[in-house]
């Protein structure tokens, strides 16, 4: 492919390859210039998405060792053993930019991509969680995006028959021009069927099965098309990737059957980078090479240029290394599932990815009259890809978390005189970020598979494991508000909340997957946010003794109007040994005592209350004590295991008042609570200090529960009892002295709201914010 009118040095820049990177490419090619096809292959493989060239040095610092870890980062998904010869595979990934362009297809293909990462390893996908972030819900553009993304997630997940059991939906102005669509998938496998993404055994066949290849998502490289064809023919233009969930369903069944019957030596899904990525990664992992027989690749349309075939991101395709004597069996399986299948190359021993036009001979060597179009060392495109040491500089003006016991900020004295706490609570419950997500998750099939014990709506998702007494518990959480003020703290808080959501069910968190959504890494302040975020992620995981088993990095989340708040999205999977011991958040029995564990620390920055009351995020965020967080989670797991706990709910968005309201609404039971305000009413009622939870216990167990908390060195207080048809929070005597005026705006008014009113505010808040009739 020669390009007369585009000088090569100019071409590489237009492909997004810097001059420095071009030199690095030359080094890896023994000094020669790459031809256009090779340059196209490098341009996709050295993209941030495929090469992690900016984040690699940071990610190396994360803890990856842990009990039961079978595979960690580097494989398609993390795999952790859960006993009984079973293991769980899980991973979270972003599809932010495609979803901004075409919300339905962007989200749909995002789901398809992460599912392939799971079943590629031999695991049957059993759950999806979708973590979504958008701008102002009143903005028509946002509403269009939310509608499209939610339809896309459902349209794909529902059809393939994997339940969507959880996720997040958060609105913040910083996402207005750049929504976040992060999707986590979980799969279950027999450990003996673990399959790796490698292409071992020179002489083995490279088999491509699934959809035919078209011009999907050629992206920036499309300029090669205009460069290659004399006139710029629009039909040669790259096109939006369209997902086919029906094809994916067939792909799942065919792939699991191939693995079960031991017909493949290695398996890799095709995602970004298409055939180039799948062949170079599997060859590099196995220390082999691959010669690609270009003509053998099944096409969806005529006239594809070699580079288009090599980097096309057509969906629903898989690449397998197959022993020649098993080819017929593999072909039969694909035929039965109605999937196109072809031998598109051979595994070689030269460590190169070679691309041949004109066919291979029976011996797998280029046939007579065939032409070699490209030859690149597999490692050069993967393990030996360029790595950039980026510059990180903190912003000049930066507020850290306050030292414990530091004086409360002025805004902590909100709500102002006369502001009725009940009204504040109802406003929070009805707000776009805290109201019920029902109108969204009711568009998802959350029960297919007949394993869903707890679906979306009330904290972590719970899936029983058929044939055992076990259950898997999963949650996703990402704190963006605090990250804006202190990215280390934002990331650490995200890990704390995601793991806490799992622990309060009684389950033991097994590991962490993460999706790091940040800005342009070439800008020192954005790269500082990323490096602080990774540091917070690592510190939190070490403190909690959890391995990071995988994840995904999404950078350049910026738009003309600004850049997103740093958003470390954390996915956690936990194991409950006996599903019968599962504890939920809802109040269950009249008369149970309510125990508050942990205490409020000053600071409202990043809280839902701050947003509502108009407190600037320049205020301090509440501090996080990782050792205490670990103790709190260990405590609640032991308390549940010992049968002391009836219900448990963590204090998160909206603070203690919202947490109590949720327990009441979900249980259909009210409560009477007395609180002694340590700092200020706002901080105690609506502040989002971490490491706190509400547990209820039978009166006969309350003392034992309190004692256990003390043994873990945790602040603990019996604050009231379950009962009645309303939530009542009254200040304990100490706080109630003197007139409201006298206490500098601190109220002593009783908060008292009937459950019906709480429900009314919470139930339809989201539909109201989005202007959806419901």
């Amino acid at each position: 492919m020669t390009v007369a009118d585009v000088a090569v040095d100019l071409l590489h820049r237009r492909l997004g390859v810097t001059d420095e990177e071009l030199d690095a490419i030359r080094d890896r090619l023994g000094g020669r210039d790459p031809n256009d096809l090779e340059l196209a292959m490098f341009s996709v493989m050295w993209s941030e998405h495929c090469s992690y060239k900016s984040s690699k040095p940071l990610l190396r610092t994360l803890p990856t060792e842990g009990e039961g870890v079978v595979t960690g980062p580097g494989e398609n998904a993390g795999v952790i053993s859960i006993g009984d010869g079973l293991a769980v595979a899980f991973k979270i990934e972003s599809h932010n930019h495609p979803s901004a362009v075409e919300p339905y297809q962007g989200a749909a293909t995002g789901v398809g991509g992460i599912l392939r990462d799971i079943f590629t390893m031999g695991a049957r996908p059993i759950a999806i969680l979708d973590a979504l972030r958008f701008g102002d819900p009143a903005d028509p553009r946002t509403r269009h995006l939310v509608d499209g993304v939610v339809r896309g997630v459902g349209g794909y997940g529902n059809c393939v028959g994997v339940p969507t059991v959880g996720g997040e939906l958060v609105f913040d102005p910083s996402y207005a021009g750049n929504p976040l669509v992060n999707v986590m998938a979980i799969g279950l496998l027999h450990e003996r069927q673990l399959t790796l993404a490698s292409a071992p055994g020179p002489g083995n066949l490279v088999v491509l099965y699934g959809s035919a290849t078209g011009r999907d998502g050629i992206g920036g490289a499309s300029i090669l098309a205009s460069a290659t064809f004399t006139h710029d023919d629009p039909s040669k233009r790259p096109s939006v990737q369209v997902g086919d969930p029906f094809a994916e369903k067939l792909l799942i069944e065919a792939s699991l059957e191939l693995i079960e019957r031991g017909l493949v030596e290695g398996l890799q899904d095709l995602g970004a980078g298409g055939i180039t990525c799948a062949t170079s990664e599997t060859a590099d992992r196995a220390g082999t090479g691959i010669v690609v027989d270009l003509d053998a690749v099944p096409r969806r349309e005529p006239g594809l240029a070699p580079f288009e075939v090599m980097i096309s991101e057509s969906q629903e395709r898989m690449c397998a290394a197959v022993r020649p004597d098993r080819w017929l069996a593999v072909r039969d399986v694909c035929d039965r599932w109605g999937l196109p299948v072809a031998i598109i190359g051979r595994v070689t021993d030269d460590g190169d990815i070679a691309v041949v036009e004109g066919g291979l001979g029976p011996d797998g060597r280029p046939g007579p009259g065939s032409r070699e179009l490209a030859r690149v060392p597999a490692a050069a495109m993967t393990s030996d890809a360029i790595v950039h040491e980026r510059v990180a500089t903190p912003p000049v003006h930066r507020r850290g978390a306050p030292a414990p016991g530091a004086p409360a900020a002025v805004s902590d004295r909100l709500p102002e005189r006369g502001m009725d706490p009940g009204a504040v609570l109802l406003a929070l419950l009805g707000s776009a970020n805290l109201s019920s997500r029902r109108t969204v998750y009711e568009q998802y099939d959350s029960t297919v598979g007949a394993d869903t014990v707890a679906g979306p709506g009330r904290g972590a998702a719970v899936l029983r494991v058929k044939g055992t007494r076990k259950a898997l518990v999963a949650s996703t959480d990402g704190n963006h508000g605090v990250g804006l003020v202190d990215p280390w703290l934002g990331a650490a808080l995200s890990v704390a909340e995601a793991t806490r959501n799992v622990s309060i069910t009684g389950a033991r968190p097994l590991g962490v997957t993460n999706c790091l959504n940040y800005g342009d890494p070439t800008r020192p302040d954005a790269f500082w946010q990323l490096s602080e975020g990774v540091r917070g992620l690592g510190d939190a995981c070490r403190a909690l003794g959890l391995p990071v088993t995988g994840g995904n990095v999404s950078l350049y989340n910026e738009w003309p109007g600004g850049r997103i708040a740093p958003t470390p999205e954390i996915g956690v999977v936990g194991l409950l040994d006996d599903v019968a011991t599962l504890v939920g958040p809802a109040f269950a029995h009249i008369g149970d005592s309510i125990v508050l564990v942990g205490d409020a620390t000053p600071g409202l920055a990043g809280s839902a209350y701050a947003a509502l009351a108009g407190v600037t995020t320049d205020d301090n965020p509440p501090n996080l004590d990782l050792a205490r967080e670990a103790a709190l989670q260990a405590f609640v797991r032991e308390a549940i295991a010992r049968g002391l706990v009836v219900s448990a709910q963590d204090v998160s968005g909206g603070g203690l008042a919202v947490a109590l309201a949720e327990c009441a609404m979900w249980g259909g039971l009210g409560a009477r609570v007395r609180l002694s305000f340590v700092g200020s009413p706002a901080v105690d009622l609506f502040g989002e200090s971490p490491s706190r939870l509400i547990a209820t216990a039978a009166p006969t167990h309350a003392a034992a529960l309190v004692l256990l908390a003390r043994q873990y060195g945790l602040p603990v207080e019996s604050i009231g009892a379950v009962g009645g048809d309303r939530l009542i929070i009254e200040p304990a005597a100490s706080a109630a002295i003197g007139s409201s005026e006298g206490r500098g705006g601190q109220f002593a008014d009783v908060l008292e709201v009937p459950i019906g009113e709480l429900r009314h505010a919470w139930d339809d808040g989201l539909a109201r914010s989005l202007g959806w009739e419901s």
Partner: protein
């Protein structure tokens, strides 16, 4: 010898394994039947499971209706064999004309994934006899095309013939017609399931197989599964299933 019940597997079926699991719990011997087979292998009853056969492209259930096995299913049904269609299976039966009516796009134009309450109109059929007294049954729905439609005359006749098998009901136990929030898809006259005139072929949109164990939040669906298994055992003369139940 537990009774053998066939579960048809179309490309895109995704509730086949759940259905097999529930039939297993109910004491039957489930048999997966690949859609390209021409025979039902002598099973005593057939279930068309939920899912998105052929992606539900074009119209839910229409492409699956032409799968080879559907000829055998039609013959089996016309010969009096017991056939139950759940969700997508119901849509396939309707497209094949084995049960009356059509299932249109939900009037909300959105997928409906939620728990509903339905009430059996009859306790004297092969699919409902084990349900006992008429009380609301809680189970999930998960579909985008579940709005039951037939013209007024046909609906009147259905009711005269007592062919309405299940209706959506609201909290107060009343039938939930179109517009009632307890009706997830706008189905006319609150119809959630119907039975053919002969009484041997039935379809419903809700998923009894997902509500067959208390741990999943409801075992109300087990009554429907058990009804089918016991009826199948009777016709096939197999011993009545032992250890029937949700545990």
């Amino acid at each position: 010898m537990p009774v053998r019940i066939g579960v048809v597997v179309f490309p895109g079926s995704n509730c086949d394994r759940d259905t097999i699991h529930a039939l297993d719990l109910a004491g039957a011997e489930p048999v997966a039947l690949w859609h390209e087979r021409a025979s039902l292998e002598g099973v005593a009853a057939v279930v068309l499971p939920g899912g998105f056969a052929y992606g539900d492209y074009l119209r839910a259930g229409v492409i699956a209706r032409f799968s080879p096995i559907m000829r055998a299913v039609a013959a089996f049904a016309n010969g009096g064999g017991l056939v139950l269609g759940i969700c997508n299976g119901f849509q396939v039966l309707a497209e094949a004309g084995l049960v009356p009516g059509a299932l249109l796009r939900n009037t909300s134009l959105r997928f409906a994934g939620q728990e509903v309450a339905i009430a059996a109109e009859r306790a004297d059929t092969a699919f409902t006899h084990a349900l006992g007294v008429r009380r609301p049954l809680r189970m999930p729905v998960a579909h985008g095309e579940g709005c039951y439609y037939a013209d007024e005359a046909a609906l009147d006749q259905l009711e005269r013939n007592r062919q309405v098998l299940f209706r959506y009901v609201d909290a107060s136990g009343d039938n939930a017609g179109p517009g009632n929030p307890a009706n997830p898809n706008g189905s006319l006259r609150a119809i959630a399931g119907v039975i053919n005139a002969a009484g041997n072929v039935a379809g419903l949109m809700p998923h009894p197989e997902r509500a067959a164990e208390a741990i999943l939040g409801s075992d109300d669906g087990m009554g429907i599964v058990r009804s089918l298994v016991e009826s199948a055992a009777r016709v096939s003369g197999s011993a009545a299933p032992a250890g029937v139940g949700a545990r």
